[in-house]
């Protein structure tokens, strides 16, 4: 009897160790995996490299063409505008080398999105076609806790939005609903352009 008495507990400990290792591995390999996914052109929008926004070359050119008044260029023809994109990667507002009129920043408000914890609304700042800033005009604040959660989640969400240049961003752990509202509001702002 005694030999099998602790089997369930031992299995539990084993699973906990595996879970811990998985989380650790995720933390450790986060950056490397992003390089892998970013190299595949189609998934570039989903990749979220921290801070350095080198993943913008694909989305940037088409938007530059849009703001300069030219007819919309389909996303399938990026090679011509790669230089424009690379010029934009610094993220500075006035760096739109290929399209001078876009130098003045434009601001667009997203829709107000309701979450169980309060409303979320974002304001997106564009320099030319590049998203340079996402600010929350409204955020869940019905309780101290919501504010705390939001203050932690917002920088992560903004960083992801800027690096992917889209509303395709991952949900932040512990702030599921805020993230969802944020994404919807951001998407509505992008749709208004």
């Amino acid at each position: 009897m005694s030999s099998r008495s602790w089997r369930g507990t031992i299995l539990f400990a084993g699973i906990l160790i595996v879970l811990g290792l998985t989380v650790g591995l995720r933390l450790y390999t986060g950056g490397q995996l992003d390089l892998l996914t970013a190299s595949a052109p189609d998934s570039a929008a989903h990749a979220t490299p921290p801070a350095h926004s080198s993943s913008s070359p694909v989305p940037a050119p088409t938007r530059a063409a849009n703001t300069s008044g030219a007819p919309p260029v389909s996303a399938g023809s990026p090679p011509t505008a790669t230089s424009t994109g690379s010029a934009n990667t610094s993220g500075a507002p006035s760096a739109g080398a290929g399209s001078p009129p876009a130098a003045t920043p434009t601001r667009l408000d997203g829709d107000i999105e309701q979450t169980p914890f309060g409303n979320v609304q974002v304001q997106v700042t564009f320099a030319g076609s590049t998203m340079t800033k996402v600010a929350e005009i409204q955020s869940p604040h019905d309780e101290n806790r919501s504010e705390e959660i939001n203050s932690l989640a917002e920088p992560v969400l903004e960083r992801e939005a800027l690096s992917s240049q889209s509303a395709t961003i991952d949900t932040v752990s512990g702030a599921t609903y805020t993230s969802e509202g944020y994404k919807r509001s951001l998407q509505s702002a992008l749709d208004k352009r």
Binding site: R7, F12, I169
Partner: protein
């Protein structure tokens, strides 16, 4: 009979259920992948986020394993064939502990993560989590039910409550799984925004539910209707043992083998709510079937008061310890209490096949021996009744030295054990001490809970 010719089932302790083990681990890997692909690469190592994420991962794993837990005992024919009922129950017990601990860890880590986030006290944080997220109250009820089920199944507690109460509490698991399922979809960070994960999860739970409905409700009911089993007669074997005879239609279709057991549910007051496992002590002949029941629990005792003509739902047969397992010419059978029922049928079949069979029958006293005439009627059987409690005898007849005195050639025999788990454990330990290889020891416990 040549030993090699009967080797069609993998021996116990061998590769039983390897495929199922691999499938279980594979499912766990899928869950880890679901978490991995849906976690932002930039997910930071702040204590709060890290704690919450570990909590989520524990919850995901528990949500997956609880389905595995239900499936293991859903009487899925493929599992029954490849692993065997006794081992499935054993896995269910082991995995049950794991799942209960994982759920507890999930709750603790989610609350702890929230506490780190907003510096709340544990109590406030718990209340906040319960009130501000959707479907949390149902999840709370479900979690409490699962913890109670786990608690009543813990070894120390389980020994102190009756099978009937334990069984009814255990039945609430189905409701609990459903109640906790809701919060997984509506609160889970890995489901709210990920349609693929949602799809996988819903399929997992729908599949589990469908298996339960199919193999635990619909097919057994159809079988009960087809066989229309009724109690035909009751025979008192001795002070503690009763035999029940059944009559029904198409019993040969059940394919019952010597050594197997079935789950019986008697349609009468006080019996209907629970199904009990009883070994078949006489395989069906001419539409008649027999079980032999020892007075172990409340229910086993109440079997004596069954009326003739009572309708019976019988599920099964189950059990993979049959005469087919025998690969050696010389066999030792060790029976205890009501374990004599299945071992008598196995003895009969093995003697018919030409094996050299010795049967040790442990009982508390001479008056507790059952089926003596039938055992004596098996011509070639060497029958060794060993009676007396251990404290009266002053020694354990199943201790290694005594066992080798009783059966000098025990090392060359293949052993089948059936009886109360304490006796079965002693016997197995002694046999291992006497260097009987593990693959030649077959043991099936009478208990199912």
């Amino acid at each position: 009979m040549a030993a090699e010719s009967i080797r069609d089932l993998p021996p116990r302790g061998g590769p039983r259920g390897v495929t199922l083990r691999i499938a279980l681990v594979g499912g766990g890997l899928v869950v880890l992948t679901m978490w991995w692909t849906n976690t932002p690469a930039s997910f930071s190592a702040t204590p709060a986020e890290l704690t919450t994420t570990v909590g989520e991962l524990c919850g995901l794993m528990a949500g997956y394993l609880i389905c595995a837990l239900v499936l293991l005992v859903a009487r899925v024919p493929w599992f029954q064939r490849s692993v065997g009922m006794d081992k499935l129950i054993l896995w269910h017990r082991t995995l049950g502990t794991t799942v209960v601990l994982l759920i507890a860890t999930h709750v603790v880590f989610i609350v702890l993560g929230g506490m780190l986030l907003d510096h709340a006290t544990p109590w406030n944080e718990l209340i906040f989590t319960l009130t501000r997220y959707p479907d949390m109250l149902t999840a709370l009820i479900g979690t409490i039910a699962i913890l109670v089920v786990g608690f009543t199944s813990a070894r120390l507690i389980r020994q102190r409550i009756s099978y009937e109460i334990w069984y009814v509490i255990h039945l609430t698991t189905y409701a609990a799984v459903y109640l906790t399922f809701l919060h997984q979809l509506s609160d889970g960070a890995h489901f709210v925004d990920n349609p693929i994960n949602r799809f996988v999860w819903i399929i997992l739970y729908l599949g589990t539910g469908a298996s339960v409905i199919c193999w635990r409700i619909v097919l057994p009911s159809a079988g009960a209707w087809r066989h229309r089993l009724r109690v035909e007669d009751l025979t008192t074997e001795n002070s503690g043992t009763t035999s029940v005879w059944f009559r029904g239609d198409h019993l040969d279709e059940l394919g019952i083998r010597a050594g197997q057991f079935m789950l019986f549910r008697f349609v009468s007051w006080g019996h209907l709510l629970t199904a009990h496992p009883y070994s078949i002590s006489r395989v069906p002949v001419d539409g008649r079937l027999r079980i032999t029941v020892g007075a172990l629990g409340d229910h086993s005792g109440a079997v004596r008061s069954l009326k003739r003509g009572t309708l019976v739902f019988a599920e099964g047969p189950f059990g993979s310890v049959t005469a087919d397992r025998a690969t050696r010419a010389r066999i030792l059978l060790i029976a205890g209490g009501a374990g004599i029922g299945p071992l008598r049928t196995i003895a009969e079949e093995l003697v018919d096949r030409g094996h050299d069979v010795t049967l040790i029958y442990r009982a508390r006293s001479l008056s507790h021996l059952a089926l003596i005439e039938e055992l004596a009627a098996i011509g070639e059987l060497v029958f060794l009744p060993v009676t007396g409690r251990r404290d009266e005898l002053g020694y354990d007849p199943l201790a290694p030295d005594n066992l080798s005195l009783l059966v000098p050639d025990v090392r060359d025999r293949e052993v089948f054990i059936c009886g109360p788990s304490a006796m079965a454990f002693t016997a197995e330990t002694s046999l291992r001490a006497l260097r009987v290889p593990r693959r030649f020891i077959h043991r099936e416990e009478l208990s199912i809970s």
